[in-house]
């Protein structure tokens, strides 16, 4: 009788920074009891990183370079938004060894070399974070079987904090990509006119500073570099997670929004992204289609502490029980491997 657990070779490396690598860091604890996992980094230097090798060992996950693995393999080669997977022909080599290639773009666009690999028959299955992403990318994949596996976040990593403190704070957390920020970002925050409020942003970098060099950031602003604070500490410092997005960017899922919700930071987000599926308007945050809606809801949450407290708890409960439901995520992943 064959082993019912699928053998999954994950091409990438976990991290606390970046959507796909962070996703992998949460996926390993989720799937390690249900799959035989082996992590295959792009570069050998990762294998010297004791923090992550210990992390993998703790869950019984093997790690090795592709060349160190047997010439013939059985199972799946999974990769998520790993640019090198196609450009460096890693996917092709994995397939030559007998693995079925499972690819997840994670973004709203196709990566370099991806569609060429699809046309060459290298990719056997595709994964989507959301139906929105599936609608955008599906046509490029043709008849390749596709599965929506979402995005799992371990709620234990983002504990809830009951906030009641003299200083109110709004902010956002995302990778420092200029396209994720609307053109008017700093003036948008300031124009909300929330009294005595701090504006906190992580991760900030030189590209963002250049994009917004016309703005004079005063003492209300904390512009933090990536990982300058621990993610949880940063999210605990926010009352509201206000997340307007750039006009050339579509959020395929919204990991940082769910992380914020788990901690009790209330999201105010724009329509037109998967965020609409994560936030129940009026119950676990607000979908705001106009500046005045952001302003109205932010002011209401600022002045009405019982509402804020109630909604923060609802955010956590919804994120933990519904969006990050462990059993549902495991079932979705196993369905993708077993179909």
């Amino acid at each position: 009788m064959s082993d019912p657990k699928p053998f999954v070779y994950v091409f990438g490396w976990p991290s606390h920074v970046g959507g796909a690598d962070t996703k992998l860091a949460h996926l390993i604890p989720l799937l390690h009891q249900h799959c035989h996992l082996t992590v295959v980094p792009n570069e050998r230097r990762h294998l010297q990183n004791k923090y992550w090798t210990r992390f993998l060992s703790r869950y019984g996950v093997r790690f090795a370079m592709l060349d160190e693995l047997p010439a013939r393999l059985e199972g799946y080669a999974l990769s998520m938004a790993n640019q090198c997977f196609f450009t460096h022909k890693i996917a092709h080599r994995a397939k030559e060894r007998g693995l079925a290639v499972v690819w997840s773009s994670e973004m709203m666009w196709h990566h370099e070399g991806e569609l060429e690999a699809v046309r060459a028959g290298v990719v056997d299955r595709v994964l989507y974070t959301s139906e929105l992403q599936q609608a955008a990318l599906g046509p490029g994949y043709g008849s390749i079987p596709g599965f929506v596996t979402g995005n799992f976040i371990d709620p234990a990593d983002f504990p809830f904090l009951d906030r009641r403190r003299p200083e109110f704070a709004i902010g956002r957390l995302s990778r420092p990509a200029p396209e994720k920020y609307p053109e008017d970002f700093p003036v948008f925050y300031e124009a909300l006119e929330l009294p005595e409020t701090r504006f906190r942003v992580m991760a900030w970098d030189d590209r963002l500073a250049k994009k917004f060099k016309w703005h004079r950031f005063d003492c209300r602003w904390d512009l933090l570099k990536a990982e300058q604070e621990h993610q949880v500490q940063f999210l605990h410092s926010l009352d509201l997670f206000i997340y307007p997005l750039g006009h050339n960017f579509t959020e395929s899922w919204g990991r940082s929004t769910v992380e914020a919700m788990l901690t009790g930071a209330i999201p105010l987000v724009p329509p037109g992204h998967h965020l609409e599926q994560l936030v129940t308007h009026g119950e676990t945050g607000f979908i705001c289609a106009d500046f005045m809606e952001y302003r109205e809801h932010a002011h209401r949450l600022f002045t009405d502490y019982p509402l804020r407290s109630r909604m923060a708890k609802a955010c956590h409960a919804h994120a933990e029980g519904r969006l990050c439901n462990r059993d549902e995520h495991i079932a979705a992943w196993l369905a993708a491997f077993r179909a």
């Binding site: 003036v187 300031e190 016309w214």
Partner: protein
């Protein structure tokens, strides 16, 4: 670095009108620098050689802003159409920015059901709103502007230019080749944070365009007048310090004559 200057591009009779603009400003106690790109000396202005100017659609405002004006040593640049008249000192014009790197007076909501005019620059209102939203404008109200007056932070010049250019290209692909005003309306609403803080109704004391000709063939006199909403035709009492006297060109040319007194022909 000085805080701001006024600037324009003016050749031929428009240069003479701008001399009148400057003269009216000086008479009101405005002593800011006025820069002009021109084919002639404009009394009262700091003059720069204009060179050949492509006049179609007034897009030169954007190209001169990027290629010439942005090199001047001021924090903000205030564009004035040449048919402008100061009726009193406007004070600090930067007050209208409200933290934004750009200001144009947002005039009318093209989405209002009570609008009587159904198009702007040959683009149906509903289509214009759709184009703006598809390119990222996120307010329910979509405003038109008059391009006769705008303020831009020096560090936002390239952003404004790029936004305007991208919108021009996008709309051209949709069958609409726009002049400066829809492009400036787009850049403004992408950059200003809260558009409702920049409507002409929020500040009736700084600048407005007399497009209906309240002062036709005469000069604004500092008395209140009726600004007419371009789309609803609603009348708004107004008394701005700076009037875009677009129906007063002849009067402006006459008002310019004293500025040339004593200049060699």
């Amino acid at each position: 670095m000085k805080r701001y200057c006024y600037w324009s591009l003016a050749t031929g009779d428009y240069a003479k009108m701008f001399a009148a603009t400057i003269r009216s400003a000086r008479q009101c106690g405005v002593f800011k620098d006025f820069h002009v790109w021109s084919d002639q000396v404009v009394p009262g202005a700091i003059c720069h050689e204009a060179g050949p100017v492509e006049r179609w659609g007034c897009l030169f405002k954007l190209t001169y802003l990027r290629d010439a004006v942005s090199k001047l040593d001021y924090e903000y640049f205030v564009w004035l159409d040449t048919d402008t008249w100061f009726v009193r000192n406007p004070g600090d014009v930067l007050r209208v920015l409200s933290g934004s790197p750009i200001h144009l007076a947002l005039e009318s909501d093209v989405c209002k059901p009570e609008n009587r005019r159904r198009d702007w620059w040959d683009c149906p209102n509903t289509k214009f709103a759709e184009l703006m939203r598809r390119r990222g404008v996120r307010s329910k109200a979509i405003f038109n502007v008059n391009g006769g007056f705008f303020v831009i932070h020096r560090d936002a010049v390239h952003t404004v230019y790029n936004l305007a250019h991208e919108f021009w290209e996008f709309c051209r692909g949709e069958g609409f080749t726009f002049n400066d005003e829809p492009l400036l309306a787009y850049a403004m609403q992408m950059l200003c944070g809260n558009p409702y803080a920049h409507t002409i109704r929020q500040d009736t004391g700084l600048w407005a365009s007399d497009w209906t000709g309240c002062f036709a063939d005469t000069l604004p006199d500092g008395q209140p007048w009726w600004f007419v909403d371009y789309f609803t035709e609603e009348k708004l009492p107004i008394n701005p310090a700076i009037v875009h006297a677009m129906r007063s060109k002849k009067a402006l040319l006459e008002a310019a004559e004293p500025a040339y007194a004593g200049l060699a022909p």
